[in-house]
Symmetry: C2
Subunit: 147 residues, 2 copies
Protein backbone atom coordinates (compact mmCIF):
# COMPACT_ATOMS: atom_id res chain seq x y z
CA UNK A 1 0.00 0.00 0.00
CA UNK A 2 1.15 3.47 -0.90
CA UNK A 3 2.66 5.34 2.07
CA UNK A 4 0.46 8.35 1.33
CA UNK A 5 -2.53 6.02 1.47
CA UNK A 6 -1.56 4.63 4.90
CA UNK A 7 -1.53 8.16 6.30
CA UNK A 8 -4.81 9.14 4.65
CA UNK A 9 -7.60 10.38 6.91
CA UNK A 10 -10.83 11.86 5.64
CA UNK A 11 -11.21 15.56 6.41
CA UNK A 12 -13.59 15.93 9.41
CA UNK A 13 -15.80 18.49 7.62
CA UNK A 14 -16.29 16.20 4.62
CA UNK A 15 -17.06 13.35 7.03
CA UNK A 16 -19.77 15.40 8.79
CA UNK A 17 -21.43 16.60 5.57
CA UNK A 18 -21.58 13.28 3.75
CA UNK A 19 -22.18 9.53 3.81
CA UNK A 20 -19.42 7.09 2.84
CA UNK A 21 -20.95 5.00 0.05
CA UNK A 22 -17.93 3.09 -1.19
CA UNK A 23 -14.42 3.14 -2.60
CA UNK A 24 -12.77 3.04 -5.97
CA UNK A 25 -9.17 1.81 -6.16
CA UNK A 26 -7.95 5.40 -5.63
CA UNK A 27 -10.82 7.41 -4.19
CA UNK A 28 -13.29 7.28 -1.37
CA UNK A 29 -16.82 7.88 -2.71
CA UNK A 30 -19.01 10.14 -0.58
CA UNK A 31 -22.63 11.17 -1.01
CA UNK A 32 -23.35 14.68 0.25
CA UNK A 33 -26.20 14.49 2.74
CA UNK A 34 -28.25 16.96 0.71
CA UNK A 35 -31.26 15.67 -1.20
CA UNK A 36 -31.45 18.86 -3.29
CA UNK A 37 -29.10 17.19 -5.78
CA UNK A 38 -27.53 13.78 -6.31
CA UNK A 39 -24.15 15.15 -5.21
CA UNK A 40 -21.14 12.89 -4.87
CA UNK A 41 -17.54 13.57 -3.89
CA UNK A 42 -14.41 11.64 -4.80
CA UNK A 43 -11.54 11.90 -2.31
CA UNK A 44 -8.26 10.33 -3.47
CA UNK A 45 -6.91 8.37 -0.47
CA UNK A 46 -3.60 10.21 -0.44
CA UNK A 47 -2.43 12.16 2.59
CA UNK A 48 -1.51 15.82 2.32
CA UNK A 49 -2.69 16.37 -1.26
CA UNK A 50 -4.64 19.55 -2.06
CA UNK A 51 -4.33 19.91 -5.85
CA UNK A 52 -4.85 17.40 -8.66
CA UNK A 53 -1.36 18.18 -9.95
CA UNK A 54 0.10 17.06 -6.61
CA UNK A 55 -0.92 13.51 -7.48
CA UNK A 56 1.55 11.30 -9.34
CA UNK A 57 0.79 10.71 -13.01
CA UNK A 58 -0.65 7.24 -12.40
CA UNK A 59 -3.02 8.58 -9.73
CA UNK A 60 -4.08 11.48 -11.96
CA UNK A 61 -5.12 9.14 -14.71
CA UNK A 62 -6.88 6.86 -12.23
CA UNK A 63 -8.77 9.89 -10.90
CA UNK A 64 -9.82 10.68 -14.49
CA UNK A 65 -11.05 7.09 -14.91
CA UNK A 66 -12.97 7.15 -11.63
CA UNK A 67 -14.56 10.57 -12.11
CA UNK A 68 -15.57 9.74 -15.70
CA UNK A 69 -17.07 6.36 -14.76
CA UNK A 70 -18.92 7.87 -11.81
CA UNK A 71 -20.22 10.82 -13.85
CA UNK A 72 -21.36 8.60 -16.72
CA UNK A 73 -23.14 6.16 -14.39
CA UNK A 74 -24.81 8.93 -12.37
CA UNK A 75 -25.97 10.74 -15.51
CA UNK A 76 -27.67 7.51 -16.49
CA UNK A 77 -29.15 6.58 -13.09
CA UNK A 78 -30.48 10.04 -12.34
CA UNK A 79 -31.29 11.28 -15.88
CA UNK A 80 -28.95 14.27 -15.65
CA UNK A 81 -29.30 17.31 -17.87
CA UNK A 82 -25.60 18.02 -17.21
CA UNK A 83 -22.90 16.67 -14.93
CA UNK A 84 -20.84 19.17 -12.93
CA UNK A 85 -17.34 17.89 -12.14
CA UNK A 86 -15.23 20.22 -10.06
CA UNK A 87 -12.27 20.51 -7.72
CA UNK A 88 -12.63 23.79 -5.83
CA UNK A 89 -11.38 23.24 -2.26
CA UNK A 90 -11.36 26.84 -1.13
CA UNK A 91 -12.91 25.87 2.22
CA UNK A 92 -11.83 22.26 2.71
CA UNK A 93 -8.20 21.88 1.71
CA UNK A 94 -8.09 18.09 1.29
CA UNK A 95 -8.25 17.28 -2.43
CA UNK A 96 -11.82 16.35 -3.36
CA UNK A 97 -13.72 16.32 -6.63
CA UNK A 98 -17.44 17.11 -6.74
CA UNK A 99 -19.47 15.01 -9.19
CA UNK A 100 -22.97 16.47 -9.23
CA UNK A 101 -26.08 15.55 -11.20
CA UNK A 102 -27.78 18.70 -12.46
CA UNK A 103 -31.35 19.05 -13.69
CA UNK A 104 -33.29 22.03 -14.91
CA UNK A 105 -35.71 21.47 -12.04
CA UNK A 106 -33.05 21.57 -9.29
CA UNK A 107 -32.68 24.24 -6.59
CA UNK A 108 -29.76 26.09 -8.21
CA UNK A 109 -30.12 25.56 -11.97
CA UNK A 110 -28.42 26.92 -14.05
CA UNK A 111 -26.03 28.33 -11.43
CA UNK A 112 -23.50 26.29 -9.46
CA UNK A 113 -24.80 24.46 -6.37
CA UNK A 114 -22.37 25.81 -3.79
CA UNK A 115 -23.83 28.20 -1.24
CA UNK A 116 -27.24 28.18 -2.88
CA UNK A 117 -29.97 26.18 -1.08
CA UNK A 118 -29.66 24.96 2.53
CA UNK A 119 -28.84 21.24 2.67
CA UNK A 120 -31.87 18.92 2.94
CA UNK A 121 -30.71 15.73 4.71
CA UNK A 122 -31.90 12.39 3.30
CA UNK A 123 -34.24 10.10 5.22
CA UNK A 124 -32.85 6.63 6.00
CA UNK A 125 -35.10 5.14 3.34
CA UNK A 126 -33.93 7.56 0.66
CA UNK A 127 -30.30 6.83 1.52
CA UNK A 128 -30.82 3.09 1.26
CA UNK A 129 -32.53 3.49 -2.09
CA UNK A 130 -29.66 5.56 -3.53
CA UNK A 131 -27.02 3.19 -2.21
CA UNK A 132 -28.70 0.14 -3.72
CA UNK A 133 -28.91 1.84 -7.13
CA UNK A 134 -25.20 2.65 -7.00
CA UNK A 135 -24.19 -0.87 -6.02
CA UNK A 136 -26.04 -2.38 -8.96
CA UNK A 137 -24.55 -0.03 -11.52
CA UNK A 138 -21.01 0.37 -10.31
CA UNK A 139 -20.21 -3.13 -9.06
CA UNK A 140 -17.57 -4.69 -11.21
CA UNK A 141 -16.71 -1.44 -12.94
CA UNK A 142 -13.30 -0.16 -11.81
CA UNK A 143 -13.60 -2.37 -8.73
CA UNK A 144 -16.05 -0.19 -6.87
CA UNK A 145 -16.50 -1.55 -3.34
CA UNK A 146 -19.69 -0.51 -1.54
CA UNK A 147 -19.15 0.67 2.06
CA UNK B 1 -6.51 15.19 -38.03
CA UNK B 2 -9.40 13.76 -36.02
CA UNK B 3 -12.76 14.14 -37.80
CA UNK B 4 -14.27 15.64 -34.65
CA UNK B 5 -11.46 18.20 -34.68
CA UNK B 6 -12.14 19.25 -38.28
CA UNK B 7 -15.74 20.04 -37.34
CA UNK B 8 -14.81 21.90 -34.14
CA UNK B 9 -16.00 25.48 -33.81
CA UNK B 10 -15.66 27.50 -30.63
CA UNK B 11 -19.01 28.27 -28.96
CA UNK B 12 -19.93 31.90 -29.79
CA UNK B 13 -20.60 32.81 -26.13
CA UNK B 14 -17.16 31.56 -25.05
CA UNK B 15 -15.63 33.49 -27.95
CA UNK B 16 -17.31 36.74 -26.84
CA UNK B 17 -16.36 36.37 -23.17
CA UNK B 18 -12.71 35.47 -23.64
CA UNK B 19 -9.41 35.97 -25.45
CA UNK B 20 -7.77 33.11 -27.35
CA UNK B 21 -4.28 32.86 -25.84
CA UNK B 22 -3.05 29.62 -27.39
CA UNK B 23 -3.53 25.93 -27.96
CA UNK B 24 -2.41 22.68 -26.38
CA UNK B 25 -2.40 19.55 -28.55
CA UNK B 26 -6.02 18.85 -27.54
CA UNK B 27 -7.47 22.06 -26.14
CA UNK B 28 -7.91 25.68 -27.08
CA UNK B 29 -6.72 27.90 -24.21
CA UNK B 30 -8.91 30.93 -23.47
CA UNK B 31 -8.45 33.74 -20.96
CA UNK B 32 -11.77 35.06 -19.61
CA UNK B 33 -11.85 38.81 -20.16
CA UNK B 34 -12.37 39.43 -16.45
CA UNK B 35 -9.51 40.88 -14.43
CA UNK B 36 -11.17 39.93 -11.15
CA UNK B 37 -9.35 36.60 -11.37
CA UNK B 38 -6.73 34.96 -13.57
CA UNK B 39 -9.43 32.75 -15.13
CA UNK B 40 -8.61 30.39 -17.97
CA UNK B 41 -10.72 27.93 -19.92
CA UNK B 42 -9.65 24.78 -21.78
CA UNK B 43 -11.87 23.75 -24.68
CA UNK B 44 -11.03 20.35 -26.22
CA UNK B 45 -11.19 20.84 -30.01
CA UNK B 46 -13.75 18.08 -30.52
CA UNK B 47 -17.12 18.80 -32.13
CA UNK B 48 -20.34 17.90 -30.33
CA UNK B 49 -18.80 16.95 -27.00
CA UNK B 50 -20.51 18.17 -23.80
CA UNK B 51 -19.19 15.83 -21.08
CA UNK B 52 -15.65 14.71 -20.24
CA UNK B 53 -16.78 11.10 -20.49
CA UNK B 54 -17.81 11.69 -24.11
CA UNK B 55 -14.12 12.04 -24.98
CA UNK B 56 -12.21 8.94 -26.00
CA UNK B 57 -9.81 7.54 -23.40
CA UNK B 58 -6.74 9.05 -25.05
CA UNK B 59 -8.34 12.52 -25.14
CA UNK B 60 -9.43 12.21 -21.50
CA UNK B 61 -5.91 11.55 -20.39
CA UNK B 62 -4.59 14.36 -22.58
CA UNK B 63 -7.14 16.70 -20.99
CA UNK B 64 -5.85 15.63 -17.57
CA UNK B 65 -2.28 16.40 -18.69
CA UNK B 66 -3.24 19.80 -20.08
CA UNK B 67 -5.40 20.89 -17.15
CA UNK B 68 -2.77 19.76 -14.63
CA UNK B 69 0.09 21.49 -16.45
CA UNK B 70 -1.93 24.68 -16.85
CA UNK B 71 -3.08 24.68 -13.21
CA UNK B 72 0.43 24.04 -11.90
CA UNK B 73 1.93 26.79 -14.05
CA UNK B 74 -0.77 29.31 -13.21
CA UNK B 75 -0.50 28.59 -9.48
CA UNK B 76 3.16 29.44 -9.80
CA UNK B 77 2.84 32.52 -12.02
CA UNK B 78 0.01 34.10 -10.05
CA UNK B 79 0.84 32.86 -6.52
CA UNK B 80 -2.49 31.03 -6.09
CA UNK B 81 -3.91 30.14 -2.70
CA UNK B 82 -5.95 27.41 -4.46
CA UNK B 83 -6.68 26.40 -8.03
CA UNK B 84 -10.30 25.78 -9.02
CA UNK B 85 -10.65 23.28 -11.86
CA UNK B 86 -14.20 22.67 -13.01
CA UNK B 87 -16.42 21.48 -15.83
CA UNK B 88 -19.91 22.85 -15.20
CA UNK B 89 -21.44 23.74 -18.59
CA UNK B 90 -24.99 24.38 -17.42
CA UNK B 91 -25.21 27.49 -19.60
CA UNK B 92 -22.72 26.83 -22.42
CA UNK B 93 -23.08 23.24 -23.56
CA UNK B 94 -19.74 22.89 -25.40
CA UNK B 95 -17.33 20.98 -23.14
CA UNK B 96 -15.04 23.44 -21.38
CA UNK B 97 -12.95 23.25 -18.23
CA UNK B 98 -12.42 26.31 -16.05
CA UNK B 99 -8.93 26.66 -14.55
CA UNK B 100 -9.08 29.57 -12.13
CA UNK B 101 -6.46 31.09 -9.83
CA UNK B 102 -8.03 31.83 -6.46
CA UNK B 103 -6.65 34.15 -3.78
CA UNK B 104 -8.01 35.15 -0.40
CA UNK B 105 -8.12 38.74 -1.64
CA UNK B 106 -10.25 38.03 -4.72
CA UNK B 107 -13.83 39.21 -5.33
CA UNK B 108 -15.52 35.89 -4.51
CA UNK B 109 -13.27 34.13 -1.97
CA UNK B 110 -13.99 31.58 -0.54
CA UNK B 111 -17.08 31.03 -2.71
CA UNK B 112 -17.03 29.99 -6.36
CA UNK B 113 -16.49 32.74 -8.95
CA UNK B 114 -19.55 32.13 -11.13
CA UNK B 115 -22.26 34.77 -10.95
CA UNK B 116 -20.45 36.73 -8.26
CA UNK B 117 -18.76 39.97 -9.38
CA UNK B 118 -19.47 41.67 -12.73
CA UNK B 119 -16.67 41.03 -15.23
CA UNK B 120 -13.91 43.71 -15.30
CA UNK B 121 -12.41 43.65 -18.84
CA UNK B 122 -8.61 43.86 -19.11
CA UNK B 123 -6.85 46.84 -20.67
CA UNK B 124 -4.74 46.06 -23.74
CA UNK B 125 -1.59 46.48 -21.67
CA UNK B 126 -2.76 44.07 -18.98
CA UNK B 127 -3.65 41.50 -21.63
CA UNK B 128 -0.24 41.75 -23.27
CA UNK B 129 1.47 41.34 -19.90
CA UNK B 130 -0.47 38.19 -19.07
CA UNK B 131 0.09 36.67 -22.48
CA UNK B 132 3.83 37.22 -22.34
CA UNK B 133 4.02 35.54 -18.92
CA UNK B 134 2.17 32.52 -20.25
CA UNK B 135 4.37 32.16 -23.29
CA UNK B 136 7.53 32.08 -21.22
CA UNK B 137 6.26 29.49 -18.81
CA UNK B 138 4.32 27.18 -21.06
CA UNK B 139 6.43 27.18 -24.20
CA UNK B 140 7.90 23.77 -24.76
CA UNK B 141 5.69 22.14 -22.15
CA UNK B 142 3.08 19.91 -23.77
CA UNK B 143 3.62 21.79 -27.02
CA UNK B 144 1.71 24.91 -26.04
CA UNK B 145 1.37 27.18 -29.06
CA UNK B 146 0.66 30.85 -28.30
CA UNK B 147 -2.14 32.37 -30.42
Amino acid sequence: MDELELDFQLDPQLAVDSVHVGDFPLSRVLLMNDSNYPWFILVPRRAGVTEIYHLGEKDRHQLMRESSALAENLADIFAARKMNVANLGNMVAQLHVHVIVRKESDAAWPGPVWGKAPAKPYSDDELKRIESRLDTLLEGELAFTPA
